[in-house]
């Protein structure tokens, strides 16, 4: 994981023909969020390099583009409420 | 180790008592007239597997002995007026966290720098009321070099038994004068240890409410991972703002001392058996002059007695009233402008016993003849 997420390169896959199917989707979310602990500080939403999150009406992160998550770990490393856990095993 | 007979200063006797009682951690800072205690500890402790550290100030010294006590050591510091004032905030921390430790205050002239090399008893009230908030102190006061040893042992024991800081009040004269001391063998003295937890870690409450008011105490590193905080806390040691829990904690600090006051408070009476109407109340070195004065008075067929508290706090109202049953005039002799007299006022029936101050605060001791003169003066007015 690098600290400056903007430099996250696209993972070049050998067969360029069809896009690599992401492991994550709505049914298999990349992260688990403890909404009771989250204080809607907007850090994960603002800094996620893949813009996976959109704020819900409480300002808390909603995984609207789960498939774009690259498990870069920025969100859960920077979550002040310890409210995000990766589902990557 | 058979008994050794030594010629020691009061300060040195405190070191012997502390070591006998199991003190193995001392943190202090140089200040006349208590420095010999730190010096003694600096020599003794490393030889017996103990730890001595000279901290950067008295605030740090008080902090260090509390830290050491939390980590399982019996710990002590020693100071005098100015340092004792600096220690007050962390002393309050030891009270609220119920952490055993001993503070020896070798009194000198005050306030402020005052009379560094001269005697006074002007920290008497500070010893019991020095820091902020409601709390209940245990303050012991020896009157001889040998008793300095034994009351230091008792102070360490009380701190472990009641899980609280204990103050030992000496003064410049008692601290520096030399007297014969029989150093008891270890098996001749009673040494108390803090009550160990009787439950496994997950059920352990560092501040469990108990009948005696004293909770069992684990130490850091023993598998009982608990929280200690100066914030008002619940039985687990976590901060609380719940009124019921706040009151319960403060009642606990009170009950464990006040409910045991009769067991803690100790007095020495001289010539009180024939119920004299006039008596002298004094502590520490002054009580030696009082005893001498009583002897001189008795030679002149003046019926008078003397009472000496070994514990300045708690005084135990019931014991004081019993002692003062026959007494109509109580001369309170002390080296300040009236402190012990205020503490006694709260315990007695002043219609029954009149309090007569005999106060000296010029850096000199009260002499037996000065006390004798006061006795005669009081007796003259009485009849």
């Amino acid at each position: 994981m690098t600290d400056t997420p903007e430099k996250v390169e696209e993972k070049a896959s050998p067969q360029q023909s069809e896009p690599v199917k992401s492991k994550w989707d709505a049914e298999h979310p990349p992260l688990t969020i403890f909404y009771h602990w989250c204080k809607a500080c907007n850090i994960c939403i603002a800094f996620c390099p893949q813009k996976v999150f959109e704020p819900d009406r409480d300002g808390k992160p909603n995984m609207v583009r789960p498939e774009d998550c690259t498990q870069c770990a920025f969100c859960w490393l920077h979550c002040p409420d310890l409210a995000i856990v990766s589902n990557e095993k | 180790m058979s008994n050794q007979v030594k010629l020691l200063q009061g300060n040195e006797a405190c070191v012997e008592g502390a070591v006998l009682a199991g003190v193995r951690f001392f943190a202090g800072y140089p200040i006349t007239p208590s420095t010999e205690i730190a010096e003694g500890m600096a020599r003794r402790l490393p030889r017996i597997g103990g730890r001595f550290i000279q901290m950067e100030d008295e605030i740090a010294s008080m902090a260090a002995i509390i830290g050491a006590s939390c980590a399982g050591s019996k710990s002590m510091t020693a100071t005098s007026g100015p340092g004792f004032s600096l220690m007050q905030e962390n002393l309050g921390y030891a009270y609220i966290t119920e952490t055993p430790c001993v503070v020896v205050d070798v009194q000198r002239g005050g306030p402020s720098t005052g009379l560094p090399t001269k005697i006074s008893q002007s920290d008497t009230m500070q010893a019991a009321y020095g820091t902020h908030g409601d709390y209940y102190a245990i303050v012991l006061a020896p009157s001889s070099v040998e008793e300095s040893l034994h009351l230091t042992v008792k102070a360490v024991n009380y701190s472990e038994m009641y899980r609280t800081p204990v103050i030992v009040l000496l003064d410049e004269v008692l601290g520096h004068m030399r007297e014969k001391v029989v150093i008891p063998a270890l098996d001749e003295i009673e040494v108390q240890e803090r009550r160990r937890p009787a439950v496994p870690p997950d059920w352990y409450k560092h501040y469990a409410i108990t009948a005696t008011g004293v909770s069992a105490m684990a130490s850091f590193g023993e598998g009982y991972r608990f929280n200690v905080t100066g914030l008002t806390h619940d039985e687990l040691g976590f901060p609380t703002a719940v009124p019921r829990e706040i009151k319960a904690m403060l009642d606990k600090l009170k009950d464990k001392v006040v409910k045991n006051a009769d067991a803690i408070a100790e007095f020495e009476s001289t010539e009180m058996d024939d119920d004299p109407k006039v008596a002298i109340l004094s502590y520490g070195i002054v009580s030696r002059a009082a005893k001498q004065a009583v002897a001189m008075a008795r030679e002149q067929r003046l019926k008078v007695g003397a009472i000496r508290p070994k514990t300045i706090w708690p005084l135990s109202e019931s014991k004081v009233r019993d002692l003062l049953k026959p007494v109509r005039q109580l001369i309170v002799a002390e080296l300040n402008q009236g402190q012990l007299i205020n503490m006694v006022k709260q315990c007695i029936d002043r219609n029954h016993t009149e309090l007569i101050p005999l106060q000296k605060y010029d850096g000199e001791l009260i002499t037996p003849s000065e006390i004798l003169h006061k006795i005669k003066e009081v007796k003259h007015h009485a009849n």
């Binding site: 002040p80 990766s86 | 017996i48 905080t229």
Partner: protein, 280 residues
């Protein structure tokens, strides 16, 4: 299988109320996570770890973690920790303290603990303000900045706690921020592994007071500032001074082999006891 992301939750105290007490977006939550991951990396038993703190926002951290925790008086955590460590050197002793707690009222204890080089790791959370008491300026509030007690701008100079620590004798001194969390984990882990007095200054955001009073934005904006103004020491060494304008250096700033205080005393005590055994 524990992923790195949920190591933290295995060290939190279940009896404590979560979410924690700090403001939304406060850097202290990030530091809590970083400290726990660094401790976990040591693979030490929880029973042997003592975390002390003084008074202030940063000092509310230990109560949340399942170690021996000691929340002391304002500015005195390092003195308390000295007593814990020196009396029981087997314990790993950590202090979490703030810029006001450690450098103002606690300054005297800080420099003397550095001088003694006692094996304690200090996490010095520097958010340039007294947060708990409502935004007063502290010894690290930049000159000219506003605090509730410097309403017309702070006229005082600040000192650099890392330089202070190095000058006073600390063996290990590092700086990171709550944005550079990977680096922070490394710096804390290095401090914990170091035998001697180690200081990790962590630049943290107090947007509730410092950010608001000085119009430096919310948590996101303050983190963005940190990202833009931090310069790792390896890079900083190669840059000419004018390039370092407005930047602060992060990373491992000082790492020296020095004899540690408890070891020195234990050696002294051992020699003395051998001598007394020789002639009882």
């Amino acid at each position: 299988m524990q992923t790195k992301s949920d190591i933290v939750h295995h060290y939190l105290r279940p009896k404590k109320k979560f979410p924690h007490v700090w403001c939304s977006g406060c850097g202290l939550g990030v530091i809590l996570g970083s400290l726990i991951r660094s401790i976990d990396a040591l693979q030490m038993p929880k029973d042997d770890i003592v975390v002390c703190s003084g008074i202030g926002c940063s000092s509310r951290l230990p109560v949340y973690i399942d170690f021996n925790t000691l929340h002391t008086t304002h500015g005195r955590a390092i003195a308390f920790a000295t007593g814990v460590k020196f009396s029981n050197p087997r314990l790993k002793v950590i202090v979490v303290t703030g810029d006001g707690d450690c450098l103002a009222i606690g300054g005297n204890h800080f420099i003397h603990a550095c001088r003694r080089n006692i094996d304690i790791t200090v996490i010095l959370v520097n958010n340039w303000i007294y947060g708990m008491t409502g935004g007063q300026f502290s010894p690290t509030t930049p000159t000219g900045k506003i605090g509730s007690t410097a309403p017309y701008g702070n006229i005082e100079q600040t000192f650099d706690p890392t330089k202070l620590a190095i000058a006073a004798g600390a063996a290990y001194v590092a700086r990171s921020t709550v944005y550079h969390v990977d680096q922070l984990d490394k710096m804390i882990k290095g401090g914990l592994e170091k035998k001697g007095f180690s200081v990790v200054e962590v630049i943290s955001n107090c947007h509730t007071y410092f950010g608001r009073l000085n119009k430096e934005g919310d948590a996101v904006e303050m983190l963005t500032w940190m990202k833009a103004h931090a310069m790792p020491i390896q890079a900083a060494r190669k840059l000419p001074p004018e390039k370092m304008e407005g930047k602060f250096v992060t990373g491992l700033l000082h790492d020296e082999e020095k004899q540690e205080y408890c070891d020195r005393y234990a050696q002294l005590s051992e020699d003395l006891m051998k001598k007394t055994e020789a002639r009882p």
